[in-house]
Symmetry: C3
Subunit: 119 residues, 3 copies
């Protein structure tokens, strides 16, 4: 199965950048493509507990609903451990679906993926 890696480097101060990875990753799963969303830098604020609930754009459903649909479709969520240190967030601060992983992981994921997308 081909695999796509989506990397969210932008945070909740740019809500218009947050829908794309979830929508594209969910679409990927429906196309028979494996999908991981990796949260890096300020991007980790998107999977901080309680934040997605606050975001809703135009006619779109709230971001939390879009995130939940992506997870239900089998999309994996990963959070960069070093970014947690950079922004002073702890493991317990994130939604339970988000797995905390080390910096070396992203290098490996990028090398293994059939394509990457950066938001």
């Amino acid at each position: 199965m081909p695999a796509l890696l989506y990397v969210q480097t932008s945070g909740i101060d740019t809500p218009e950048r947050l829908y794309s990875p979830f929508i594209l990753a969910q679409t990927a799963k429906a196309m028979g493509i494996d999908a991981i969303i990796y949260f890096l830098g300020m991007g980790i604020t998107v999977v901080k507990k309680g934040n997605a609930e606050k975001i809703k754009m135009g006619q779109f459903p709230g971001l939390k609903e879009v995130m939940d649909q992506a997870v239900k479709a089998g999309v994996k969520l990963m959070v960069c451990e070093q970014s947690c240190q950079l922004i002073s967030l702890a493991k317990g601060d994130f939604v339970p679906e988000a797995e905390i992983v080390g910096a070396a992981t992203l290098n490996d994921l990028v090398l293994e993926a059939d394509g990457t997308m950066w938001f």
Copy 2:
């Protein structure tokens, strides 16, 4: 022929991010490389009619001129349909060279490209 995909996720509020994909894509065509620029999220404002005309940086020609040169060189422009809904723009709002395509398209384009660039 190798193919490069350029994705513009930033909008006209960050003019310093807008020249690169056009210049790189035009350079790619001159190098015998196929080139598509895909506009996503706020990036779609770049190909909204009348916007590129307003942007000019330093000694560089205006962005509209750089866009026209890229199109003339054979660079294809694509616009994400879901982003149009997110930002409430309609098909007729864009320059005629820009083709509106669905979300699944980007997953396919990324998988097919020999390289991708994100701005």
Copy 3:
């Protein structure tokens, strides 16, 4: 040896986006992966002489120290010539480790790399 290309398109006004490429590239070298960081658009301000010294986030060492460690580990730094013109910076304005290269270079680097990351 596999090769990863990191591209910094963000400038010193977004300090939280600046650590990742240096940390990931240094980690890559430790993993036996070749690593280049390419500075584009406002990203070139990161390798302007004197700028990294001003940036420090949370418990992390200053950005200059992180940059120096990456260079010492064998990470190569490249600066986009067209971006220098766009932002009106001259060759002598950059740290000596940064090599100025033309626009065609990035197309080639992306095609040759085993993976790319965009910040």
